[in-house]
Symmetry: C2
Subunit: 208 residues, 2 copies
DNA sequence: AAATTAATTGAACATACATTCAATCTATAA
DNA sequence: TTATAGATTGAATGTATGTTCAATTAATTT
């Protein structure tokens, strides 16, 4: 008996507002009081659902990493086609995910990982699972002889190094044309690693 | 007449302690009061030399970026040899600079760049100058026919993408062996880009 | 209707923060 | 020696922080 618990739902609501405020004003400028004000609730209610601010922060990190994982949604099905692999590459080198999660916050918590082991492990496991997913996709493409990639795991790693390295620099680039050209260049490098001629797939690739 | 100004020297002292404390406890946990306590001076003295905390933070960022630039010290002289280029590559793929500046803080302020235009410009200009320096080094090696790199600028960019992308992932890797192996692999990729056979240079490269 | 469980509020807490201002101390030049 | 400019202190300010606790309100079951 008693009242139905809203814990899960309420926690998510709070995290979403936390995310929203932190995106706008920065994580370090986002207090429990601010979140409460935006939600028009009492700050102590937030403490009621998350015992400490630390817990709340971990909640936000999980939220962001889940969305980070979500954007790539690398297919796990058996019936992988070359077009699936290609769509994945296109996705990795697009900037669609900006709509799903904030780069600034992603890097903020990445920086935090250097001092907090828990966060480091979270990030590591997410990054690993993405690499693993891409590697097994390449493997299945190999099996069906769509590709002939020698070492799928190494190839997947290298592609992600390109992705991460490219965005690290390009996030600072304000010239949109330069941005697009560079990204396109690195994308072609990725296709090269896979032994795929991007010209053959031209129909599916939007012109740069 | 009057007293000699200590401004410059004192500012540097303060920044160095700021760096030290922030490295240990994180930027967001480092207050003016904490810095003052470590230095055994009054907090208001810090405000006297840096009008606001913002100014102090910019000072720290400049300090870190200067050191970041310093570690690479790409030679600017005319007499560039193949060994100079090679030393640069070795340096880029070593982790020596950990002694000079803290990765965690470097990424902390990198994350801040997403919200603060001034910081973004600082980072961009540092990253660009490194790329430019490497590109012109390659060019001079081309002139002397040590290398035959088609597009030195693009090659330099690509090498830095490898560096940045590799460290982005590897900073989360705690397995030292895996860390070293991966780094070595990406370094070889860099040599490949330059058309240099790393085996020919084996004497200068420490075994992985 | 009564009992129970959870949601929510509101007041209060100690603490830490960046910054201010006036006062004092100290080195240097005239 | 005296005037002066800068170094340094110390007290004070107002604001924001995370967290606590008791009190109240609302939903659900018996």
């Amino acid at each position: 008996m008693g009242r139905k618990s809203l814990k899960g739902a309420r926690q998510l609501e709070i995290i979403k507002i936390f995310y929203k405020v932190a995106k706008k004003e920065g994580y370090e400028n986002t207090s429990i009081a601010k979140i409460a004000k935006v939600m028009d609730i009492n700050p102590s209610l937030i403490i009621h659902y998350f015992e400490t601010k630390e817990d709340l922060t971990y909640g936000l990190i999980d939220y962001i990493l889940e969305r980070y994982l979500l954007i790539y949604t690398i297919k796990d099905k058996e019936g992988v086609t070359l077009s699936d692999l290609q769509k994945t590459i296109e996705m990795l080198f697009s900037k669609k995910w900006n709509l799903l999660f904030d780069d600034g916050l992603f890097y903020t918590f990445y920086a935090l990982a250097f001092r907090e082991k828990k966060i480091k492990e979270k990030y590591k496991s997410i990054l690993d699972s993405l690499r693993f997913a891409l590697a097994s996709m390449i493997e299945r493409c190999n099996e069906k002889e769509f590709t002939k990639v020698e070492d799928p795991k190494t190839a997947a790693d290298l592609i992600f190094v390109l992705v991460d390295g490219a965005y690290f620099y390009l996030s600072l680039e304000s010239d949109k044309k330069a941005y697009a050209e560079r990204l396109h260049y690195y994308k072609n490098k990725a296709y090269q690693i896979l032994g795929i001629d991007p010209l053959l797939l031209a129909d599916l690739i939007p012109a740069p």
